[in-house]
C-alpha cells in the first residue's frame, strides 16, 4: 500500500512541474502543422499519385486516420525521443541537483525502491504521453479531414497497406501501443544516465547521443548485416503494426531485445545510484 502511495507521490512530482509540459506544446503544434499543410497545400498529391498508381480510389484514404498516421513520423523520429529523454534524465538527476534527493534519503527508504519508483513513474508518463498523442492526432486530423480508411506507405520497411476504417483504427491503436516500447526504452536510457552523478541536461544529451550513434551505425552499409544488434533497429516496432499480416515473430524478437535493454539500463542505473555518495 505504501508503495502505491510512494508511486502516487512520484507522479505528483512529475506532473506537478511545468517543465514536464514544455515540450508537449511542440507535439500539438507539429500535429496541427501537418494537418494544415496537408489540408491547404498540395502535399497530399504524392499520396494521391501512389494510390491512383496502384488502382485505389483516392478519396476514401485521404482521411483522418491516414493524416494521424503521417503525423506519427516526425513525432516518433524526433520529438518523442527528445521529450522522453528530457523527462527521463530529469527523474533522478534533477532531484540530486535541486537537493530534494538529500531530503528523501534522510528517510528510511532504500535506494533501490526509490529508483524503481522513479523508473515506474517515468514509464507511466511515457505511456500516457503516447496515448494522449494518439488521441490528439486523431482529433486534430478530424478537424480537417473526413473519417475514412487508412493508407500507410513506409518504403524503408517495404510497407504499403490499405485498411478499411475499423481495421485502420485498430492498426493505429496497436501502433501506439508499440510506440510505448520506444518511448519507455529511450526514457530508460536517459534515466540510467541520470542515476550517475551528472546534471539533468548531461543525462538527456548522453541518451540522445546513444540513440543517434546507434541510428547512424545501424544505417552504415558496413553494419547492414549486424543491424539487429543496434538499439534503434528495435525501436520502430510500431511501423510493423501496419503490415498485413503483422510479423509477430519480428515484433516478439524486438520486444525481447528491448526488454533486455531496459533491464540493463535499470540495473546499471540502480548500481550507479547505489554506490554513489549523495552530497549537497
Amino acid at each position: 500500500m505504501n508503495f502505491l502511495l510512494q508511486l502516487r507521490n512520484e507522479l505528483w512530482k512529475l506532473f506537478g512541474k511545468k517543465r514536464t509540459y514544455i515540450g508537449f506544446a511542440m507535439f500539438l503544434l507539429t500535429q496541427n502543422i501537418v494537418s494544415i499543410v496537408f489540408r491547404f497545400t498540395r502535399a497530399s498529391r504524392f499520396i494521391e499519385r501512389l494510390l491512383e498508381g496502384n488502382g485505389y480510389l483516392v478519396e476514401p484514404y485521404i482521411s483522418t486516420l491516414t493524416l494521424a498516421t503521417v503525423m506519427l513520423f516526425p513525432i516518433a523520429g524526433f520529438l518523442l525521443p527528445l521529450y522522453v529523454s528530457l523527462v527521463g534524465g530529469d527523474l533522478v538527476a534533477k532531484e540530486a541537483e535541486d537537493g530534494t534527493l538529500r531530503m528523501i534519503l534522510a528517510r528510511p527508504v532504500s535506494r533501490s525502491r526509490l529508483i524503481f519508483l522513479k523508473w515506474l513513474a517515468g514509464a507511466i508518463f511515457s505511456i500516457l504521453l503516447v496515448v494522449t498523442l494518439g488521441v490528439f492526432g486523431l482529433v486534430f486530423a478530424r478537424l480537417w479531414f473526413h473519417w475514412g480508411g487508412l493508407f500507410v506507405w513506409i518504403p524503408d520497411q517495404n510497407i504499403f497497406s490499405i485498411f478499411e476504417s475499423a481495421e485502420g483504427l485498430k492498426a493505429y491503436g496497436i501502433a501506439h501501443l508499440m510506440l510505448v516500447t520506444q518511448a519507455v526504452s529511450i526514457m530508460s536510457a536517459a534515466f540510467m544516465f541520470g542515476c550517475f552523478n551528472v546534471k539533468p541536461a548531461v543525462a538527456t544529451i548522453l541518451a540522445l547521443s546513444f540513440v543517434f550513434v546507434n541510428f547512424i551505425l545501424q544505417n552504415i552499409p558496413y553494419f547492414r548485416d549486424f543491424q539487429n544488434w543496434f538499439f534503434t533497429y528495435h525501436l520502430n516496432l510500431w511501423q510493423f503494426m501496419f503490415v498485413q499480416p503483422i510479423p509477430w515473430w519480428r515484433v516478439g524478437a524486438s520486444m525481447s531485445v528491448l526488454f533486455g535493454f531496459n533491464l540493463t539500463f535499470l540495473v546499471i542505473g540502480l548500481t550507479a545510484f547505489q554506490v554513489r555518495d549523495i552530497k549537497s
Partner: protein, 303 residues
C-alpha cells in the same frame, strides 16, 4: 543514540573524515563544530547513509547504518542547510510526499506538526511563495513528521537573518525541552553552539580535535590578565619559576597546571614588582576555537 567508531571517508586522495569516533547519548544537544570543509556534513551524510564510509562504522539507535539503514533511520528527522522542497507544490503536499518515505502518515499528524511549527494557514500555498523563515519551519515540520527521537540539524541557521536565527535557537530549545529529543547540531556559528549545546566536538580537517562540554572548552586554556610596572620582566620571572607556561600580547599569562593567581601575586610582590591588576579572563568559545585551530596547522579558515 549515535555511535561512531573510527569512521573514515576518503574522496579520491582527499581525506574528508579521519577515524572519527564519538558517542551521542540520549537527551543531549550535541554540537559538531568546524570550519567549512572540516568534515561535518560528510559525517552527517554517513550517519544518514547518504555517504558510504571508506572504513569504520556508524550506529544510529543501535542499528548499523550501512547494513540496516531502514531500522536505523526509522525515528530520525533531519534538516539540511538551505532546505530544498518541491517549490511548485504546496507545503502540505511536500509534507505528504516526504512522510510516505518513512511510513503511512495520517493527515492528523501532518496537521499536528504544521501547528507545532506555526505554518497553519499557509500549508496550502505553494512553497515558491514561502519566505526563508517559512521554508525553515517547513523543513522542521518534515523532520518532525516521523515522530523522531533523534533530530539531525546540519547548519540549520545558514542563510537566516538574525531574527530567523533567534527563532531557530528557540525552536531547538523547545524541541529539546518539550519533546525530549536528542539533537545533533552542526554549525560553524560559535555563538549558536555555545548557547545551545550540552556537549561539543570540534572537527578540523576531518579529525576530532576536541570533545567535551562548552564549560570544558572554556576552561581548557585559561588566560590571566596581569598589569605590572614591567610585564616582560615579570613574565620571564614567572616562567623561570615554572608558574606560567606562556604569555602573549604584553598582558596575558597562561598558568602552569599547579599554579594559581595567589601564587603569582605573591611571587611578584616578593620580587619587588608592583601588581596593579591580576584576574582570570573569561574565555569565550571563540577564543577556545581560534586557539584550537592555531594548534592544528592547516585549519586556518575562521569558522
Amino acid at each position: 543514540m549515535i555511535e561512531l567508531e573510527k569512521l573514515t571517508k576518503r574522496f579520491g586522495q582527499r581525506l574528508a573524515v579521519d577515524e572519527l569516533s564519538m558517542t551521542i547519548r540520549p537527551g543531549e544537544i550535541y554540537g559538531l563544530l568546524g570550519h567549512n570543509g572540516a568534515g561535518k556534513s560528510t559525517t552527517i551524510g554517513m550517519i544518514l547513509g547518504q555517504v558510504w564510509p571508506t572504513s569504520g562504522s556508524a550506529k544510529v539507535c543501535g542499528h548499523e547504518v550501512s547494513a540496516h539503514r531502514r531500522q536505523a533511520l526509522q525515528q530520525v528527522g533531519a534538516i539540511f542547510e538551505s532546505p530544498q522542497f518541491y517549490d511548485y507544490l504546496s507545503g502540505w503536499r511536500n509534507l505528504e510526499i516526504l512522510a510516505t518515505y518513512t511510513a503511512r502518515t495520517p493527515a492528523s499528524r501532518i496537521r499536528e506538526v504544521i501547528d507545532w511549527v506555526g505554518l497553519t494557514g499557509r500549508e496550502q500555498s505553494i512553497v515558491k511563495t514561502y519566505s526563508h523563515g517559512m521554508r525553515a519551519r517547513l523543513a522542521l515540520a518534515q523532520a518532525l513528521l516521523p515522530n523522531p527521537q533523534l533530530l539531525i540539524l546540519d547548519e540549520p541557521s545558514d542563510g537566516l537573518d538574525p531574527e530567523g536565527i533567534h527563532e531557530m535557537r528557540q525552536t531547538v530549545r523547545r524541541l529539546h525541552k518539550e519533546l525530549g529529543l536528542t539533537i545533533l547540531f552542526s554549525s560553524h556559528l560559535l555563538n549558536e553552539v555555545e548557547q545551545l549545546c550540552t556537549r561539543i566536538a570540534v572537527l578540523s580537517q576531518g579529525r576530532k580535535v576536541f570533545e567535551g562540554t562548552v564549560t570544558d572548552a572554556r576552561s581548557t586554556q585559561t588566560w590571566v590578565r596581569l598589569r605590572t610596572d614591567n610585564f616582560l620582566r615579570a613574565a620571564q620571572l614567572l616562567f623561570d619559576a615554572k608558574l606560567i607556561v606562556e604569555h602573549r600580547d604584553g598582558k596575558l599569562i597562561r598558568l602552569a597546571p599547579d599554579s594559581g593567581t595567589a601564587a603569582i601575586a605573591r611571587k611578584l610582590v616578593e620580587s619587588g614588582f608592583e601588581v596593579h591588576e591580576i584576574f582570570t579572563e573569561e574565555q569565550t568559545l571563540e577564543d577556545f576555537y581560534l586557539s584550537l585551530m592555531k594548534a592544528h596547522p592547516g585549519s586556518v579558515r575562521s569558522p
